[in-house]
Symmetry: C2
Subunit: 189 residues, 2 copies
């Protein structure tokens, strides 16, 4: 979709947004997760062009996020259902819903409510730390390159600035990943 294949960049956000960072995909996933899996229903509900819908769906199937399943044999009819991988995207959707509700809810209140069926209550999804279970906020989290990080592809080059700004907690990435963008002019300058 993008000229420079974002997916080639070894950054999790890039990988995820290459798939998900498209106006329609999130909406499609919302609908499919809610059980709306048929082509025509999706097209109608979203007002999306059928061509684009077909492209998105087959992409999502290729990525293993959706599964195309025959729900009826005679006449043969297919529907799309989320795979496990797809279901795990719900955290992203919930975060998106929550943010949208918080910042764009009108006078009437939020357009969407999330219910946690397990406990039976409406809920506000909270992102928490797997270790201490406290809520995570932007101010107390730091994203660092992990063992699989690569340099030079235009991602994670920002780490240098990070460690320059904050206390030098543990600036050593995996072998020398913390290289500044400005240290590596793009070969032509």
């Amino acid at each position: 979709m993008t000229r420079v294949r974002l997916a080639d960049v070894a950054c999790s956000i890039a990988r995820a947004t290459d798939l998900f960072g498209d106006a329609w995909t999130a909406l499609i996933m919302r609908d499919v997760m809610a059980g709306l899996g048929r082509f025509d229903d999706l097209a109608r509900d979203l007002g999306i062009s059928r061509k684009v819908l077909a492209a998105r769906l087959s992409r999502l199937v290729d990525e293993g996020v959706l599964e195309r399943r025959r729900y009826q044999d005679r006449p043969p009819r297919e529907e799309y259902v989320p795979t496990r991988k797809g279901k795990e995207l719900s955290a992203v959707l919930l975060a998106l819903i929550d943010w949208g509700d918080r910042w764009y809810a009108g006078e009437d209140g939020p357009p969407a409510l999330v219910r946690h069926d397990a406990c039976g209550h409406d809920t506000t999804p909270v992102m928490t730390c797997s270790h201490c279970r406290e809520p995570l906020t932007a101010d107390d989290t730091t994203v660092r390159p992990g063992p699989g990080a690569r340099v030079g592809t235009g991602t994670l080059l920002l780490v240098d600035r990070l460690s320059a700004d904050g206390p030098p907690g543990d600036p050593s990435g995996p072998e020398g990943v913390a290289r500044s963008a400005r240290d590596a002019p793009s070969s032509s300058a």
Copy 2:
């Protein structure tokens, strides 16, 4: 960006993805949140066209997600920093990172690690229920229309199918929202 202004649809995901559902925006936010706020650095790090970067940044500023701030007067230099609204998007980014790490990490391990500075440990962000504090999964959450929901704009029409599939927990949305897409052929058929 999209022909049919998604933002006009009273769905939180639509509102959020109209802004965020673009391949670059998430990446820009990642960088800005990490402290990389200068135009040239962003352009270089992302490999994005300067034109598009300028457009995205001014959109993000208009939306109140970023603030354009002068960090030096002589010569005048500006940088972009996340506002509170912008910082709250970190939950979405964390969810995206987590998902990307889980499903696209190579042999070497995840390209990105998230550290929770408050507790000092690397963390896996977990989406939890604000009420019972248990993790939320796709299978035990239901998205229902809330008080601010509207009908007919091609969103949340899926509720009918939901209540048809599952146990009839509480199928009554706010006044008659639960209308099926197929009950309302789009005026021409």
